[in-house]
Amino acid sequence: MTDAAVEARVTTVGGAATWKGLIVQPAAIAAVLAGFLVWLNLAPLTASERSTLDPASLWGSTLEHLSLTFVAASIVLVIAIPLGVLLTRPALRRLRGPVLFIANFGQAAPAIGMIVLLAMLITSGYWASIVALVIYAALPVLRNTVIGILGVDSSLVEAGRGMGMSAASVLFRVELPLAVPVMLAGIRTALVLLVGAAALAAFVNGGGLGLLITTGVNLYLFSVLISGALLIALLALTIDWLGRVVEHVARPKGL
């Protein structure tokens, strides 16, 4: 999506102030990225630094990183959203506390430990990382799904049922649409968490931009280490920005 196209869509949704905010972020990201690329071309790098920071391998690591992020995110969505919805149904209200506690625990547990632990059980470093990332990032989506749905005015649910809408129809046509803004915020938070945590996959041969950091640490190549950290941060900011744009565009009209 080009900036201009995004800008045009955003103006129709939010006010001037909101879309201004949405332009500043990608502009800053682009400026830093440009600076990095200039530095990469001009800096006096050693041969081993140059080979690790070769644009083709950087691009490959970025794609791996995105793959880790999005595959984990998709699994999180598929698990956490339906689970969150179920936890708001009166019949399962009692499970809400315990399940959220477990999800909290998943996020609080050190992600690095979890990845290494899982790598002992799952031979593929990539999939071990995915499982750990899913456990790590499920909480914000789960919690925001629950909060978003519980935040819907209960009188609206009653009005819907009172008109003869079934419970499922009220869920899909009233509760979920109205919970969308809160749920999207949770998904964006999860994605940003995932971009950061996906760096740890490199410890178990899961790939991604974390490789630059582990290489930098192991071989004392600080420029490589910093490059890795910088690229991950830029990726996180980009995804955060994309999330904000989606939140603006997908916000139900009339709210």
């Binding site: 009188s155 609206l156 009653e158 009005a159 819907g160 049922r161 009172g162 008109m163 003869g164 809408m165 079934s166 129809s169 046509r173 009233v174 649409p177 109205l178 139900p252 009209k253 009339g254 709210l255």
Partner: protein, 423 residues
């Protein structure tokens, strides 16, 4: 029975169905006593029945058991001649309009989409739905072109409530349930919405059950009022007139609050009382001939009408003496009330003008006669007497209301009800 005091001028035909709650009980789990304790209540077709009572007495629970938003623990609910106690709740609710406080509109849907929900569920085609939406917006006094595509947040509270009523009427259900529908709007808007509901009801003639906290609202809107106490025990089920004139006990008296007499004034319309004559003259006549007419009739005032028989001036002998010819320049602060106004409004108009009387107009503001303070007093005395007499008769309210065939005679009333369920 003082039937005349109950019936309102009606233009439409009754499209409502009667509702019978037959020994209905709701026991919430974990509570010592039932929230609704064996209520038997017949709600006549095409009438407005108001449920009133102190907070927590079970009004909402009773109302929601009619459309089974709350499942009764025990008892039967009959809609028209159909026992609906065990049919699917969703299907039942599509046939019963439901209005909640503040309208309960879905904020992410336009006004039209909100109104279209039930017709869509019932599988109406697009054209029919669109036509119905416009028709309903007209009915609730909102211009369809202006409002149908708005979102609820772009409406005032009163307008939202109107759309809420339109939505409930969308599929033309025979029954309308309302839980404190006007509780969230300011007093002036509330009055207007109440008046509108009455004029809509004249047209649609639904069976309407309304829960309210506001006894004045119950008096104004209700054909019948149910006064509940704890556990939805019926203390009195009667017309507003009779509840005001003959409260069943101190509890009801307390609930009515002060000013029962003044409240009765809101029950009668100017058009229902006998008006006094007046001497009328037309603009353009000579003042001298007006004075002559006045003296012949032995009156002290004349009413000047314009060429369409609308009152423009009300002149005393002294004012006439100063004039040559009569003009049709409208007089400031002329005390005029329409024949649809309540006696309460009329009295208010009289007290504000110094005249101690007011001019009454009918359709197209045509002059009908004069209403005086004495007329109001006589009317209210007569109303009290007839309400009291209908109770003090040899049969008593319960038994004379028992024949369930009479569509406007609820079966249950007062003490015998609670006795029946005390055992």
């Amino acid at each position: 029975m003082s039937e005349s005091a109950v019936s309102r001028p009606s233009t439409g035909t009754i499209s409502g169905k009667s509702i019978v709650l037959d020994n209905v009980t709701k026991q919430y789990p974990g509570q010592s006593s039932p929230a609704v304790d064996g209520v038997t209540l017949e709600i006549p077709a095409g009438k407005i029945v108001m449920l009133v009572g102190p907070s927590g007495c079970g009004k909402t629970t009773t109302l929601k058991m009619i459309n089974r938003l709350i499942e009764p623990t025990k008892g039967r609910i009959v809609l028209g001649d159909e026992d609906v106690t065990s049919i699917g709740g969703d299907e039942l609710r599509r046939r019963i309009g439901y209005v909640i406080q503040a309208g309960g509109l879905f904020p992410h849907m336009t006004v039209a989409a909100n109104i279209a929900i039930v017709p869509k569920m019932l599988g109406w085609d697009k054209g029919r739905i669109a036509a119905r939406v416009d028709e309903l917006l007209e009915l609730v006094s909102l211009d369809p072109a202006q409002y149908r595509d708005r979102f609820p947040k772009e409406l005032s509270g009163g307008q939202q409530q109107r759309v809420g009523v339109a939505r409930a009427l969308a599929a033309d259900p025979p029954v309308l349930l309302m839980d404190e529908p006007f509780g969230a709007v300011d007093p002036i808007t509330r009055q207007r919405l109440q008046d509108e509901l009455l004029s809509i009801q004249e047209e649609v003639q639904k069976t309407i059950v309304i829960v309210t906290h506001d006894f004045d609202e119950a008096v104004k809107l209700g054909d019948w009022i149910v006064v509940f106490t704890e556990g939805a025990r019926i203390v009195q089920y009667d017309t507003p007139e009779r509840i005001l004139a003959e409260p069943a006990n101190a509890f009801v008296e307390n609930f009515i609050g002060s000013g029962a007499g003044l409240k009765q004034l809101t029950l009668r319309r100017v058009g229902e009382v006998t008006l006094a004559d007046a001497v009328t003259v037309h603009a353009g006549e000579a003042a001298a001939s007006a004075i002559e007419k006045m003296e012949r009739a032995d009156h002290n005032h004349v009413v000047v009408l314009d060429d369409r028989e609308r009152p423009v001036q009300w002149l005393s002998r002294r004012q006439l003496a100063r004039l040559d010819t009569l003009t049709d320049v409208p007089e400031d602060k002329l005390p005029v009330v329409g024949q649809g106004a309540t006696l309460n409004d009329a009295l208010d108009t009289m007290l504000v003008s110094s005249a101690g009387a007011a001019l009454v107009t009918g359709r197209r503001d045509v002059f009908l006669g004069v209403i005086t303070v004495e007329t109001v007093m006589d009317a209210i005395t007569a109303a009290r007497a007839s309400a009291a007499a209908s109770i003090g008769g040899p049969v008593g309210t319960n038994s004379d209301a028992i024949p369930t065939v009479a569509p406007d005679a609820p079966t249950s009333a007062g003490s015998s009800m609670s006795q029946a369920h005390d055992d």
